[in-house]
């Protein structure tokens, strides 16, 4: 860079600076700065290029085939004659695994983030953070391999019992808690202490019985389920949720940390427990930051390729019934990755361009959600800093 040299020589003749020298210095500084700016601007140029080049190859598809078939039909037969490019089932598959992973990852991620920021002491947190970082670092293809080679056969062979045990382990503590809290709430109106205790015990046994029946009934029905194929939407959702978790945890932890001590201390001083403080004070204050975290995590699931390609079964159809997570699905990312090999030989055909159309769809969704989450974060920062 020309600018650096002249600045460097300017230094050596230190204190006496003539007007001419100052002018040269100014010019070189300007040149240097604009060179730096140009380098920094490459980021923006790259983004524009990505949009342009993906769109350039996507537009011919819509010119040839129009929009209707792509978004409404679910007949995906790109190799047939005449070919059919109905991508609705594929879009639906993407949405389905994304929703499934969000269903698992969002509650877990927020709970873990709260735990990290408000519950665990700092000395323990130091050891938890690397675990989350390692989970984020494991390559997606390793997760995909795990899903295909270990999880899929497990689900296929022991699907029913696995579902039952998961239900038991997750549901029983929640139901127990619900029973205690419900009986407490119902018997609250009784004034007399002695009577209230008796009523409470009765309610506990009554609600407990209902809970037990529910537990056994659902568990038994789950055990009877036979999973026909292990490479299904459930498998992918589980794996994707663990890939989205690190993002959700770290971004929402930042949001929770940003809330500050004074709100927490005020709440504790008023006699609230930690759970009440978190739920009623901190979560509302950090809600927009957490929403941004959720959006980023969901985007991670939607854009993930290798796991869904290897373990989703790649069957382009809408499951029956529509929420059946035990059937194979096919996603946008897996279709792009899988069909390009065959489409590549006929560059220029609709079959080639339809994959770019899918890429453009993904790109637009990611752009919009990124934009939204960024706006949210900026707004939260403004609110919390009191502007």
């Amino acid at each position: 860079m020309n600018g650096e040299d002249s600045v460097a020589t300017g230094r050596s003749s230190a204190f006496v600076v003539t007007a001419k020298k100052r002018k040269i210095q100014q010019i070189t500084r300007k040149i240097g700065e604009s060179a730096l700016f140009l380098v920094a601007a490459t980021v923006a140029i790259i983004v524009i290029f990505i949009f342009f080049f993906v769109a350039r190859d996507a537009v011919p598809f819509f010119e040839i085939r129009g929009f209707r078939e792509f978004f409404t039909s679910s007949d995906w037969y790109p190799a047939d004659d005449p070919p059919r490019f109905g991508a609705w089932a594929i879009i639906y598959g993407s949405l389905m695994v994304t929703a499934g992973s969000a269903l698992i990852a969002v509650p877990m991620g927020i709970a873990a983030a709260i735990c990290l920021s408000d519950v665990i002491p700092f000395s323990v947190r130091q050891y938890v953070k690397p675990v989350i970082e390692m989970l984020a670092a494991i390559p997606s293809v390793a997760f995909g391999f795990f899903a295909l080679v270990i999880l899929a056969p497990l689900l296929q062979n022991y699907g029913g019992p696995i579902l039952m045990w998961t239900w038991w382990i997750i549901a029983s503590p929640f139901l127990l808690l619900a029973v205690i809290v419900l009986s407490e709430l119902v018997s609250m109106s009784i004034q007399d202490d002695k009577h209230r205790k008796i009523a409470q015990r009765m309610y506990v046994s009554f609600f407990g019985l209902i809970a037990l029946i529910l537990l056994f009934f659902v568990g038994n029905n789950l055990q009877k389920i036979e999973i026909m194929t292990g490479t299904n939407a459930l498998n992918v959702s589980i794996i994707l949720s663990f890939m989205a978790l690190p993002t959700i945890v770290s971004v929402s932890e930042d949001a929770l940390q940003a809330v500050g001590r004074d709100l927490r201390e005020g709440s504790y001083a008023l006699g609230a427990t930690r759970a009440e403080t978190i739920i009623k004070i901190i979560l509302p204050a950090a809600s927009s930051g957490i929403l941004a975290a959720v959006i980023l995590g969901i985007m991670r699931s939607l854009g993930e390729t290798m796991v869904v390609w290897m373990a989703s079964g790649n069957a382009s159809h809408i499951p029956d019934p529509w929420f059946n997570y035990l059937e194979s699905v096919r996603t946008l990312t897996a279709t792009i990755a899988g069909d390009m090999g065959e489409a590549d030989q006929v560059t220029g055909s609709a079959r080639f361009h339809v994959l770019f159309a899918m890429g453009l769809l993904l790109l637009v969704i990611s752009f919009i959600s990124n934009f939204i989450s960024e706006r949210i974060v900026v707004r939260q920062r403004k609110i919390l800093s009191g502007q």
Binding site: G3, E4, V7, R11, A14, R29, G32, L36, V39, A40, T42, V43, V47, I50, F53, V54, M108, G109, A111, A112, C115, L116, V119, I120, M134, A137, I138, P139, A142, F143, F146, L148, V149, P173, L177, I180, V181, M228, L245, T273, R274, A275, I279, M299, G303, E304, M306, W309, M310, T333, I336, A337, D344, L355, G359, L362, L363, N370, F371, E374
Partner: protein
């Protein structure tokens, strides 16, 4: 609500948080432990005489005389089995047509199973494909094959409501009354003398190239390809990212243009990885034509774009973490802004910048989707440094996918797949570990 319930709710809330962290930790273990144990078994396993024979023939490793002795020892035991088979063949030709038709098929199955267990019979013509020239090289695979020799697999379709069940029929029973019946107990009792299993540490798994599309040999071409791609991506992205970070932290003034650049950076960070692959194909290969078709350079450029936002962000953070006093002291001594940046701020921020670089290197090594269309090829030998501009390369991440889902003998070479996954995960996690240690050292230093 009374105090007891409120406390209970509070505690269960805490338990929920700790529970989800524990589940995350367990998931990490559940993923890593099988990869580790099975991956190591690609390097350390009970190798049979066939493994040593293959090593000698294909890689010229091992002691010739000792091998010869072992081969003749195994051949002596094998000969009895082959003799039994030829006796039966003679018997088969004597039988009447109905019986011959009954036994011919079953006998061919036995013959194939024995062939896949022990390799081609001595004196037979050597098959074209390397994979058929040797018997089972791994002891656990040999035992699976032994079961195929001893039992016939059949499927029970009697209940149409459930999926067909598998059951085994002893072959010794179906050959009852013929001379072949002696073969099965003989093979079962003498299998270890036929194959001479020995614990083997096979470092060649890492440093050999593959033979006959990964049926034998190692994964060096993949490891090398991964290194080329990741290092190439760093060569492009690291300088670019650090300079951009310097601009953002030191020179950029708040304003519309600057915030536009920043949101461009976060948009780039959010683009799905497969879209980078599409962009690489459309831009670097089809438009710029950096190479005829897939090449290492096109893959590296694509990966570089992908990791650029991470590098910029971590470099920015590292530069911002340098205490203000450093900057002020330097400026106070009369040095210019650029000088301050180069001689004071960058050296102080270097460990932090390197941390981000190391993490990005790991990400570039592990990512698959961007290189599918731009650089990866399923079969191939290691390429030289001069070939990076025009030839594609095998890479760990892509070949794990390829071997696990597209290879014609995917379930036969699970150990190779596990070995590859272990290699990839080790590379990525070691890089991350370096980053974690670096960061710990920085925070210690900043604390004083």
């Amino acid at each position: 609500m009374n105090l007891g319930t409120r406390k209970l709710l509070d505690q269960s809330f805490t338990a929920l948080g700790i529970g989800s962290i524990v589940i995350m930790g367990m998931m990490l273990l559940v993923v890593l432990v099988p990869i580790l144990t099975n991956g190591i078994s690609a390097n350390v396993f009970k190798g049979t005489i066939e493994h040593r024979r293959m090593q000698y023939n294909e890689f010229h490793r091992g002691d010739r005389d000792a091998l010869q002795r072992e081969i003749s020892e195994a051949a002596a035991t094998r000969k009895t089995a082959y003799d039994m088979m030829s006796t039966f063949e003679a018997e088969l030709n004597q039988m009447d047509e109905v019986k011959q038709a009954e036994y011919r098929d079953k006998y061919n199955q036995v013959k194939d199973a024995v062939k896949s267990l022990l390799g081609p019979k001595p004196g037979d013509e050597l098959p074209e494909l390397t994979r058929f020239r040797y018997g089972q090289t791994r002891w656990e695979k040999a035992q699976e094959r032994l079961r195929e020799v001893l039992y016939e697999k059949k499927w029970d379709y009697s209940n149409p409501d459930i999926a067909a069940k598998e059951y085994l029929v002893s072959r010794a029973e179906s050959f009852q009354g013929t001379s072949l019946v002696k073969l099965f107990p003989y093979v079962e009792t003498n299998i270890d003398r036929m194959l001479l299993p020995k614990w083997t540490i096979y470092w060649g798994f890492i440093f050999d190239s593959s033979i006959d599309s990964h049926i034998f040999g190692g994964i060096w071409p993949e490891i090398q390809g991964t290194m080329f791609l990741a290092i190439g991506a760093m060569l492009f992205a690291f300088p670019l990212g650090v300079i951009a970070a310097i601009y953002f932290t030191e020179y950029a003034r708040e304003g519309f243009f600057n915030s536009l650049l920043r949101s461009a950076n976060s948009t780039l960070a959010g683009v799905p990885s497969i879209v980078f692959g599409l962009f690489g194909l459309a831009f670097f290969i089809n438009t710029l034509k950096v190479s005829e078709s897939k090449s290492v350079i096109a893959g590296s450029l694509t990966l570089a774009i992908m990791i650029l936002p991470t590098i910029i962000r971590s470099a920015e953070e590292a530069i911002l973490a340098v205490p203000k006093t450093y900057r002020e002291a330097s400026l106070g001594l009369g040095s210019t802004k650029w000088n301050t940046i180069v001689t004071v701020i960058l050296p102080a921020a270097l460990p932090g910048i390197l941390t981000g670089g190391v993490i990005s290197l790991g990400r570039a090594a592990g990512e698959t989707a961007p290189i599918i269309f731009t650089a990866a090829v399923s079969v191939g030998s290691a390429i030289g440094l001069a070939d990076v501009f025009n030839s594609p390369t095998p890479a760990l991440s892509w070949n794990i996918y390829n071997l696990a889902s597209e290879h014609e003998a995917a379930s036969e070479i699970r150990h190779v797949q596990y070995g590859m996954v272990l290699a990839l995960v080790t590379i990525v996690l070691l890089l991350n570990l370096t980053a974690i240690i670096l960061r710990a050292r920085i925070s210690k230093k900043l604390k004083g």
